[in-house]
């Protein structure tokens, strides 16, 4: 029976990513004998290498991390009695009379005669031409995600990312999580391509996103040793005088994806070139059927988009196939899913996809959304401040809120609105938000201090009482902060509550542990930092002698030769008093360390 299932499946699904897995579950639930074939060592497609929480709505696993969604789907497929899965198995061709399959573990080619075929083969990385683009160390962004998040292997230490779409932005964040340095993200156009919330996450870590910049060439003979970047003019040509060298050992290309259409092409399906969907894509109808009767497509291969729409497309394709195989009417469920798709695609971030689909006669209506910028007031109260202003298809803030205070509404592209009267300040929305765009704030905390809760997904996790660095939205260190409490969360988005000066409550949005940013030292002998001096001046030590006694500046072996001018400088800057008014430090002998014995006039005999 197993042979029959493999050789003559009613439905062959090529590709075990979100589209293929979702389709397999639907087909199996209706008793369709389904064979799912995937090239990889693991099912799940590109979900397995995503560590961020997904957007979208709950039915499609919003707020779950990509690899968790893969686990859920794969579990369900494994439990489905009518699905057989083959991994490490590649479809090598769709011939007129059969599908050729290569089992890599057995090194054996065999043929399959399926009733229906769903091709959900995904996409491949778009390549870019620049001198040195073939060097080892130049990777597609997805390849780096695979190495880092699937295998736990960092291919370098310092990364440059080309392209600021969602993949480039997410990759930057993931590399930071893995402990690597992201030197910059370059973006050739004048604006960041990805979601604003993804961009905000990266910017507040201090990773520069350089718009109007491009990669000019890679440096290195046998592998990447660096990169030359430059500003571009209005024709996107690099301006030579603006060239600069970056020391990096990995260059990640996040410049888009190309649908993998080889197999549908071989099957005789018509392809059309639709720039907005990633290039050549199969012409298909609302039900995901290509111009070949028994050949369906879903996911990135049908047009570059994202995982939620891939899952819905996979389901629609499978339901249509079930209808035909079993002579059923499943139009109600298909309609429901179509409606989900049209809502999902109604926002401004789907504008490009809408334009692309229009070219094959598939129309989705765009909707305009109101900008919601709420000023909460209620300064005595701990409450969420939601910095999600761009309409994106996402609503876990609404579905996670236990008191119904946050409303997104029927169209999940709506920016959230919050009723602060209903809000209890529990912080669950901040933990659930996939964009990490919700911060807990209480302006009136104690005295002139405010309390801020920031979502935190890095190591090490700070502990109560730690002094951490507080960063603003652009990643500038603006102050020290004291950790007041740490809420560890099951979903690993922890909330770290810090207290800071009240006037910083609306600018601080990130914390880092002091170790991860090297300090600026004033005094090398006693390890006194600029931060220490600034804090001491703030605390009222406004004279060099006071600072010296408080911080031990100038009391080390160098006798103040290195630090006193820097310390005086900081005093001048901070207090506005000129160095003329400040007294220099008093110098006392010896001016460098000498052995005690020498002071007594030379070595002394033991006896």
């Amino acid at each position: 029976m197993k042979m029959e299932h493999i050789e003559r499946p009613e439905l062959l699904i090529i590709g075990g990513g979100p589209a293929g897995l979702s389709a397999a579950i639907v087909a199996s639930n209706h008793g369709v004998r389904t064979l799912l074939v995937d090239e990889g060592v693991k099912l799940g497609g590109q979900l397995v290498k995503q560590t961020h929480k997904f957007f979208g709505d709950e039915e499609f696993y919003a707020s779950k991390r990509g690899f968790e969604i893969a686990d859920i789907l794969v579990d369900e497929v494994k439990r489905s009695p009518n699905v057989l899965t083959l991994t490490q198995t590649s479809v090598i061709g769709i011939y007129e009379d059969a599908v050729g399959v290569y089992d890599r573990t057995k090194e054996k080619v065999f043929s399959i005669l399926p009733g229906y075929i769903l091709v959900a083969a995904g996409a491949s990385e778009r390549f870019l031409s620049f001198p040195g683009n073939d060097l080892p160390g130049i990777y597609g962004a997805g390849a780096v995600q695979t190495l880092v998040n699937q295998y736990g292997v960092l291919p370098g230490k310092r990364f440059l990312i080309v392209g600021s779409g969602n993949i480039g932005l997410i990759l930057a964040y993931q590399l930071y999580q893995a402990g690597a340095d992201v030197v910059a993200i370059v973006e050739i156009t004048d604006r960041i391509g990805g979601y604003e919330v993804h961009a905000a996450k990266v910017k507040r870590l201090g990773i520069p996103v350089l718009t109007n910049h491009t990669l000019v060439r890679a440096i290195g003979q046998e592998r990447v040793r660096g990169a030359v970047i430059a500003k571009v003019d209005e024709h996107y040509s690099p301006i030579p005088s603006t060239e600069r060298e970056l020391v990096v050992d990995v260059i990640c290309l996040a410049v888009g994806l190309v649908p993998s259409v080889e197999l549908v092409m071989q099957a005789g399906a018509e392809l059309i070139y639709v720039n907005e969907l990633g290039g050549y894509v199969p012409r298909r109808d609302f039900r995901m059927r290509t111009t070949v009767d028994n050949l369906f497509v879903a996911g990135d291969l049908a047009g570059i988009e994202e995982a939620t729409t891939a899952m819905i497309e996979g389901k629609i394709a499978a339901l249509t196939i079930v209808e035909e195989l079993r002579n059923l009417d499943l139009s109600e469920e298909i309609e429901r899913l179509q409606k989900k798709l049209s809502i999902f695609r109604s926002g401004p971030t789907s504008e490009k996809v809408r334009r692309g689909l229009e070219k094959m006669g598939i129309h989705y209506e765009g909707v305009s959304f109101q900008n919601v910028k709420q000023t909460p007031g209620l300064e005595h109260k701990l409450k969420p401040v939601i910095e999600c202003f761009q309409p994106i298809p996402c609503n876990p803030c609404e579905t996670s809120c236990p008191t119904g205070a946050i409303v997104v509404g029927d169209n999940i592209n709506n920016p959230p609105k919050i009723d602060y009267e209903k809000c209890t300040g529990c912080g669950i929305c901040a933990i659930s938000c996939p964009g990490l765009a919700i911060f807990m704030i209480q302006e009136d905390y104690t005295g002139n201090r405010s309390l801020i809760g920031v979502p935190y997904e890095f190591l090490p996790l700070p502990q109560k009482g730690d002094v951490v660095l507080a960063l603003d939205r652009d990643g500038n260190i603006v102050s020290n902060a004291v950790v007041e409490k740490v809420i560890k969360s099951k979903n690993l988005t922890n909330l770290v509550y810090i207290s800071i000066d009240r006037d910083l409550a609306h600018s601080v949005r990130q914390i880092v542990m002091p170790e991860s940013k090297p300090a600026s030292y004033v005094c090398r002998c006693e390890d006194v930092t600029v931060e220490d001096v600034m804090r001491a001046i703030d605390a009222g030590f406004t004279d060099y002698e006071e600072l010296r006694r408080y911080l031990r500046i100038g009391m080390g072996p160098c006798g103040g030769r290195t630090c006193s001018s820097l310390a005086l400088n900081l005093l001048t800057r901070k207090t506005g008093r000129s160095p003329y008014e400040l007294r220099p430090q008093i110098s006392r002998p010896p001016i460098f360390p000498v052995p005690f014995a020498s002071l007594k006039g030379g070595e002394e005999d033991e006896g």
């Binding site: 490490q88 160390g137 990777y139 780096v144 699937q150 295998y151 292997v153 999580q177």
Partner: protein
Amino acid sequence: MRIENHPILRFSRARRFVFFFENQPVEAFEGETIAAALIANGIDTFRLSLRHKRPRGLFCAIGKCSSCLVEVDGKPNVRACLTLAREGMRVRLQKNRGVVGVEDGAH
């Protein structure tokens, strides 16, 4: 370089073994592809290009681009990104297109 601690992910590195790249031992863990294990050991040139003999390594990591072809136990054109590393496996830089019936060069 292998990541030891990660805020979100756990990497189970249960069974450790050794395979060979250009006759040098390479450490790998169960479940790693040849490409992942080589890069973890700082090796990123997998083959030489056909005409210009340029060093080439991993590019897409999901079997699409064919940049990472290596010779495994004498068989050419093996995608290092999709092939699991096995104990004792002998991997070599691929320097040409590969020859039909090359198996007799194995082991």
